[in-house]
Subunit: 359 residues, 2 copies
Amino acid sequence: MIYVTGHNPCMVVTGHTSASEPRPVSIRDVAAAAGVSYQTVSRVINGHPSVKPSTRDLVRAAIEDLGFRPNRAARALAGGPVQSVTVLTADTTRYGYRAGLQGIEEAARAAGFAVGIRVLESAEPADIKDAVARATEPGAALIVIAYEKAGVLALSALPPTVAAAAMVGIPEGDEGEGKPWVWLDDRKAAADATRYLLGLGHHTVHYAAIPSPGRVDQRMAGWRSALEAAGAPVPAAVQCGWNPRSGYEAGLALAADPAVTAILGGNDDLALGVMRAMHEAGRAVPGDVSIVGFDDMPEAEFMNPALTTVRQDFARLGRACFATLLRLLDSSAAAPAPWPEPELIVRESAGPARRAGAS
Amino acid sequence: MIYVTGHNPCMVVTGHTSASEPRPVSIRDVAAAAGVSYQTVSRVINGHPSVKPSTRDLVRAAIEDLGFRPNRAARALAGGPVQSVTVLTADTTRYGYRAGLQGIEEAARAAGFAVGIRVLESAEPADIKDAVARATEPGAALIVIAYEKAGVLALSALPPTVAAAAMVGIPEGDEGEGKPWVWLDDRKAAADATRYLLGLGHHTVHYAAIPSPGRVDQRMAGWRSALEAAGAPVPAAVQCGWNPRSGYEAGLALAADPAVTAILGGNDDLALGVMRAMHEAGRAVPGDVSIVGFDDMPEAEFMNPALTTVRQDFARLGRACFATLLRLLDSSAAAPAPWPEPELIVRESAGPARRAGAS
DNA sequence: CTGAAAGCGCTTACAG
DNA sequence: CTGAAAGCGCTTACAG
């Protein structure tokens, strides 16, 4: 049963078909209207070179006239260009993921691609295998967001025949060399943030970590290397989840230690939770403890105190990722723009260390 | 050119096909393996009743064995069940939208549906028409998120032949009667929040409004009706956008008026911006002015002060929306669970009105 | 209950 | 440069 929407002020009408026609206009209708064979119509649709300009124009006019749109299913089945990406991701709502998805969608839409989504429900091999199988439609391309275990596994489980690009963490060594992967320099970002905090006079910096089973957390790596380079002690990182609550819990633990004066959050939500915990524990931010976040989500600037953080432009990265995919499918496509660089955004949540006698 | 991913620890191997086979297994392969005609395979795939149980089992075993998955394109072309929804929406990142999308995706995945996304780039008739045309694939169903002008226009521009459900604002009168639409009771939610503030002793409540061109803002309607019912003055609503910055700007204006002691934000981001503005203007929250948000995004609980807000469960609504769609396609499908009710979550950002001589 | 036929709307060689 | 042919993998009547 098909539902018919009620009153229809903006009803789409092509204006030329005889209103009662139930099926959409096909390549044959266009051919008839233009007075050519339907194969010729196919040629002009696909930009085949050997078509006389005059007949090409004729066909285009008919296409325009009839409001013809090629049937994607038929096209896919016949092995034509499909122009569709499906993004394989473990999440669609967390900041980095949703912003990346937004960028991918924008770029895909601009290129005339349809976009599909498939979320990875777990990192179990069977689930990964199933998700990959379902996402892999014959002519369609894939983008995988490989920011945690499930995504990483999905990326490596891809059949070798599918065109696929990926948003990944910084590859180790030259692993990313020549691969259609894009990434943000999380290591530099974390190091910048850590150095900034150290420069404020803090003895060391603590780190509230985002999850990273099965891969190395480059944010953690950057934090550690900056600490080591400065000869500062390297405290144990506090493992958290992705959301403010886990930051809050980590913050409660950190607040109990009077030696803690500076904390780097693995993302802005974690930083928010940590700030909240400090507040409840009666530790002033940034008076007693300085906090820096990661990503610069739209809320960061309006938190109280306003969150100092390091901006990572996931939307732009998503666009670059799609451009990379397009390049794979069509080597004449424009090269992806340079990937975004991290940028430290100084606001209120971090300040000079107290000149203390202790520690 | 197709890119081949490097080392492949988790390579998906069905284990039965002769490794070098380039094309996926088809209905014919299954038929050959099971010793039946391919039409019979089609019948068991589609759960056709007239198949001898023993041959059904034979075919199923072969399907399992070969790791067969029907080609969606072929299926669509032949007019079979497509099992795909594409969601038409003006946004994928704002809280209500992304949470709704998440719910839709979860339910769709559970039902074996593929999900597509198409974002509406503007409310221009030409763009709406184009987006609807591109989103309307022959056998595929649609869900439109009609929370602002573009979505509302898209919903009314749908061709009558497509199966479509929608997440909408509260319909006027009986317009929503019998339609495959789901909605949250924004009016009640806003009235509850307003009444709560009034109950705290505030003389009246101001409202920072989300955009609503071309439709009535039910949050505003609920706010106004609660004010009127209580005999409180109804101040002009302050028009905002969707993000914290616009709430901040509205907040700056509101902060300049000493008579303002209570504000309802059209969403949590707006409330966050308003709180920030109050803070900068030296007006304590909730000491000088009380603020209540809308939606209860995950960050709300950890803001400073923690945001009192009215929770709207968009993810659950998204699931209900998909269930509604499924019902449309298959009347034997389970009825959608009851829609979520708004729930006032009292935290710290609203408090008793100051016992003042003025006003 | 199960085969053989026809066709979904397209594309890609193959002839002219 | 442009037709006519064959086929993509499936489904739905039509015969048996």
